[in-house]
Amino acid sequence: MSAAVTTHIDDSKTLWGGGVEPLKASYGKLMMWFFLLSDTFSFSGLLIAYGFIRFSNLAHDPSIAGFSPDHWPIPEHVFTHIPFWHINAPLVFVGFMTFVLILSSVTMVLAVEAGHRMDKKAVEKWMLWTIFGGFVFLGSQAWEWSIFIAGIDGHTASLVSNPYGPPAFADLFFFITGFHGTHVTSGVILNIVIFFNVVMGLYERRGSYEMVEKVGLYWHFVDLVWVFVFTFFYLV
């Protein structure tokens, strides 16, 4: 009789009956995924606000030379600087930043791949490259902010006024690239913490490098967001 009852309980332990992973992913990985989904909504809110405010302002007027405080600027007229050379290079620097993030995403996947093979040395190497890429991106962003804030002919950019267009243009620049930069910063910090744990052999002892995978998900998400920021803030 008791055997029959046990059998009955085991049968009810199907996908959502407990004791198994219904989504075939660990708790931590699922929580990272759903956190990233919520973060998707945050960034969408910012980028959609950009569209809303841009559509409610006068569009760029080609007959007006230079910038106008009433007309929304065209990004490729604003972001024309590169370090060291005083030439007109529209979007070249932001293209470099995009490439840096894509590359650091690649080194992150290589770290995850090495983790699957329990190759501690390779995980360390690729995590270090990923952290380096993060610092290069953050340094680039700091440089771009300083150029943007320096403005044109003494007219600096702030939250109340900027030389490129309506005040909201600079506000959205600071908030969108700033919110993304904050994510990159926390990503670099997380990567450093995980790198430290890798070096100390924590995941080697644990027998699994899944923590590298979880922080990798976050890092790829930061790259993913930049792909959208690049298109909707710089390209269109």
Partner: protein
Amino acid sequence: MSHGHGHSAYTKSQPIEIPAPQTAWIWKTFWILSAITAFEFLIAFVKGPLNLPHLLVVTVFITLTLVKAFYIVADFMHLKHESKTLILSLALPIIFILWLIASQLNEGSYVFDAIHNFHHFLTK
């Protein structure tokens, strides 16, 4: 491992056999992402001289962005290897974002009319 003590074959710490890396698919995705980004740049530079229609340029940019997003999420984030339930529970909520885009861009145009064309009607 624990029974290895005392046997000469096991006392020397044997290097654990690490499989060779399988990274071809990673670099393939890298080249796809780089090529798409380079193509986006090409369009950004030639759209002015070639006088490409704005709607076409924006459509191409958005399409290429979604293609890049697909490769990052599916390959780099491994989502294509996850369970179908997980894929759907992450993909379906995006519907709300699509709605927000449609409604807010539409609303932005109305605000534009309210600010700019309202003034125009008053002076007429």
